[in-house]
Structures are given as structure tokens and as C-alpha cells.
């Protein structure tokens, strides 16, 4: 996690309306520092900012056919740092999309519905609970 204790979250979506609302939903949280990007390329270019979590749209190449799609961006993030949890967002509630995301090591997959914002907050909280548990476990393992 970042030294200033804030959880740095990257939000990546080419849908400006959804991106704005997502930012509004999470910005209220005092522990979050939010950075928003409209493309996968811009997200990748800023990975040196060390995000703790990335929320990434699956369908980034809808209108701009030359744009990096969500899965390509996910692969590049994982190649940069496999420990960054990436939560995939999609307006398609399809099992093959979910499976594809999981195969590419996404932490979770959320459908853009009315409950998506609540689900994302829960997932982010679970990520940090899980990370804390892992840290504690490693601490005990080192002493065994």
C-alpha cells in the first residue's frame, strides 16, 4: 500500500459518464486516492504511480477499434506487477466474459448494474482484508 496510507485506486473506462459516477462513488471514501483514465494505454503509462487496486472496463475498444481492449490492458498490468488486484467491469452479464477475465487473473468481475458501486466497495474492502491476512500469515510462517 502507499506510504501515505491512502489506497490508490485507478479507474479505467472509456464511458465518461460511468467513469465520472464511479469516481463520485469512491471519492467520498477518505481512505481512497482516485486516478481516472479513459483508455488502457493511459492506465499502463501511469502504472509507476503504484496503484493498490485497478477497476478496469472490459470493453475499452468499442468505438476506437485501435484502442487496447480490457483483457490486453489486464495482461499488461499483470506483466508489470502480478500482485495488483484488477477488478473487471462490463455491461455484459455473460459467463464467457467472466471466465475470460478470471483466466487472465482478474481478481473479480462486476456487471455495470445499479448495485455495481456497492459491490465494488465490498470487493475493495475484501481485497484489503485478504492482503492483511496474507501478511499476517507470512509473518507467522517466517517465525516457524
Amino acid at each position: 500500500m502507499n506510504q501515505d496510507k491512502k489506497i490508490k485506486i485507478f479507474l479505467v473506462d472509456d464511458d465518461a459518464v460511468y467513469l465520472k459516477l464511479l469516481e463520485i462513488e469512491l471519492i467520498d471514501h477518505a481512505d481512497f486516492a482516485i486516478e481516472t483514465y479513459p483508455t488502457g494505454e493511459k492506465c499502463i503509462a501511469h502504472l509507476s504511480h503504484a496503484p493498490d487496486v485497478i477497476i478496469l472496463d472490459y470493453h475499452l475498444d468499442g468505438i476506437d477499434k485501435n484502442a487496447m481492449n480490457g483483457i490486453e490492458a489486464l495482461d499488461k498490468i499483470k506483466a508489470f506487477n502480478p500482485d495488483i488486484p484488477v477488478v473487471m467491469l462490463s455491461s455484459q452479464d455473460k459467463i464467457e466474459v467472466a471466465i475470460n477475465c478470471m483466466h487472465h487473473r482478474a481478481f473479480d468481475y462486476v456487471v455495470k448494474s445499479e448495485t455495481a458501486f456497492m459491490r465494488l466497495q465490498q470487493i475493495i474492502s475484501n481485497i484489503f482484508k485478504y492482503k492483511k491476512m496474507e501478511k499476517e500469515l507470512n509473518w507467522y510462517m517466517d517465525r516457524m
Partner: protein, 120 residues
């Protein structure tokens, strides 16, 4: 007939006018090029463009409080585009959705200006 309802947005932003204006402004900027892309996709039988444009419109419907009837209309267009079908009624559906989104933009522009006036 009213096409939009800001109730959901007001609730999510806790009635923060600056935030509401930010979302409306993003919608007003994003939607006209999507309408053009949708029409171009239909005209050129470019099903991928038609699909992509309509697909990108859908999440905004709920945010702007637009009826699920319009969302279903958009989903029907997606289905035709996915099957690469120039089915009868597709042009009519695209024209209807264009009208819905254009009317929504008009309403939201008025709402945006109201918020702006109350701020100044």
C-alpha cells in the same frame, strides 16, 4: 413526455450540484458522437460500430433515469447487430433510439443550465 429523471443521480451524489453537473456534462459530451456512430453503423452495415455505439449508451440510461423500455430498445438493436442482421424494423428502432437520446440531451442541457444558474 419526459425522458430523463435525475432522482438516481441526485441520490448517488447526495444532491451535490457540482457532481451532478459533472455527470450531465459527460453525458452531453459523449452522447452526440455515439448517436452519429450508431447511424453511421446502420447506414454502412458496419455491425461492429453499430453494436459498439449502442453498447456504450446503455449504462447511462439507468444513471439518467431513462425508462427500461429504452434500454430494451437498445438491447434489441444490439441483438440485431450481433447477428449481423438488417432485419425489418432495425432502421425504425435506430431512429427511435436517436430520438430518445436527442430528447434526453435537450432535457439534460436544460437541467444543467438550471444548476448553473443556482450556482451563480
Amino acid at each position: 413526455m419526459k425522458y430523463t429523471d435525475l432522482g438516481y443521480l441526485i441520490q448517488r451524489t447526495k444532491n451535490n450540484s457540482e457532481m451532478i453537473m459533472g455527470v450531465i456534462s459527460a453525458y452531453l459530451e459523449q452522447t452526440p458522437p455515439l448517436i452519429l456512430a450508431m447511424k453511421r453503423g446502420l447506414q454502412d452495415k458496419d455491425w461492429n460500430t453499430l453494436h459498439a455505439a449502442v453498447h456504450k449508451m446503455i449504462p447511462s440510461f439507468a444513471i439518467m433515469g431513462m425508462s427500461t423500455d429504452f434500454e430494451n430498445m437498445a438491447k434489441k438493436i444490439l441483438e440485431y447487430a450481433r447477428n449481423q442482421q438488417q432485419a425489418e424494423g432495425l432502421s425504425e428502432l435506430v431512429a427511435q433510439l436517436e430520438n430518445v437520446c436527442t430528447q434526453a440531451c435537450k432535457e439534460l442541457e436544460t437541467e444543467f443550465n438550471k444548476f448553473k444558474e443556482t450556482q451563480s
